[in-house]
Assembly symmetry: C2
DNA sequence: GTCTATACCCGGATAGAC
DNA sequence: GTCTATCCGGGTATAGAC
């Protein structure tokens, strides 16, 4: 890892400001409603200069997602450092809590799965895909381990658990509860975490279910 | 209820085709990516004619949501007719199952909560708001009843349950599982329904939870 | 690499004939 | 009410000077 020149450092800081702006705007308005003009204004440079750093709006979005995934992976490492031997379920729960907190702070970017052009661009984006797969792999291992100990219902397909946990990053329930103004952020985090994992938990007493 | 003239009937059928197209396009691409040109093409008339029926894109979206809410309310009635005395939990479960099936069929429209212009327009839209409130009220009553019998955790705020159930209408887990192609639609419906209601259920055995 | 100015296109909405 | 043709704002992306 070589020392960065002054110029390169400035470059880094600038791009960080840009990605930070994209991150916030993606969280606040979503991809379609976010305009490149806004990004430039918030990052404090002109639109033309911005396009020297990132060649398209899609690249901007990808960069923001890469940073978000990096933060998630960093979070995973930090948490492994704090607790000596955390169980797989505790790891997953802490990751979900971090996700919900980030969302409550307006710092969780999320992209529309419906925009096929954007989705295609992301699939070609190596930095993004690598990180996404790495995070999925780690979570997948924890899920399997938690299923082995029946902390997560072994009957459920592991993808269901994975998708369910990922979906907390864009859960509308969080924003609706916050908008109500009745509850603290931490309370919201705990409720959503609890209901999510209770839903995935092994069934101790099978409730009566309609047979069809 | 007076008999409709032939002309009025044609009018109705035309508007139904329009709203149907909006419904499908909202489900497939979302509000921002749906263009009025597409709606007109799919409904089989010109854009200018379409604007004689609905005065704006927002009106189109509202009309689709009104129809979706009407279908949900109709579903509620049908189900009350089939079963003589359904418990509140069974009512909620059946409604969620219907929601998930509709989503799997690509017939569940959903709007971005981030578009403030659209949200403001909907809040002023009486037909929409009346139906939304009616459905919320019905569900709210069932939730309170289910909490009274501890089928839903009485410790949870009822709004949390309400939002959680509403959120199934745009749950990304459904689409991801379907995209995987490994499971039948009915299996997906049952899994998501089960995890949702297990998550909201009263806690029989409190799991160990990290205190912070 | 940064700026100002602009090309270019797309999409919502409308004009005006029939 | 339906159509064809058009307006016009706004958004992505670029030209070209410094």
């Amino acid at each position: 890892m070589t020392r960065l020149s002054f110029k390169e450092q400035v470059h880094r800081v600038r791009e960080d400001a840009i990605v930070g702006a994209v991150n916030r705007l993606l969280a606040a308005k979503g991809y379609e409603l976010m305009t490149v003009d806004e990004v430039a204004a918030e990052a404090g440079l002109s639109k033309a200069s911005l396009y020297k750093h990132f060649t398209s709006k899609e690249e901007l979005a990808a960069a923001a997602m890469v940073r978000a995934l990096d933060r998630a992976l960093h979070q995973v490492q930090e948490q492994a450092r704090r607790v000596p031997e955390p169980g797989p379920l505790a790891q997953l729960q802490d990751l979900v809590r971090w996700t919900l907190r980030t969302q409550l702070e307006g710092e969780m970017p999320s992209l529309p799965a419906q925009n096929s052009r954007l989705v295609a661009a992301l699939k070609e984006h190596k930095d993004y895909m690598n990180r996404l797969l790495e995070l999925s792999d780690r979570m997948g291992e924890w899920i399997l381990a938690a299923q082995a100990s029946a902390e997560i219902d072994p009957e459920l397909p592991p993808e269901l658990a994975l998708y369910t946990l990922f979906a907390r990053a864009c859960d509308p329930v969080v924003g609706l509860l916050k908008a109500g103004g009745q509850h603290s952020d931490e309370q919201i985090v705990e409720w959503v975490t609890a209901t999510t994992f209770r839903g995935l938990a092994g069934a101790p007493a099978p409730a009566k279910r309609k047979t069809r």
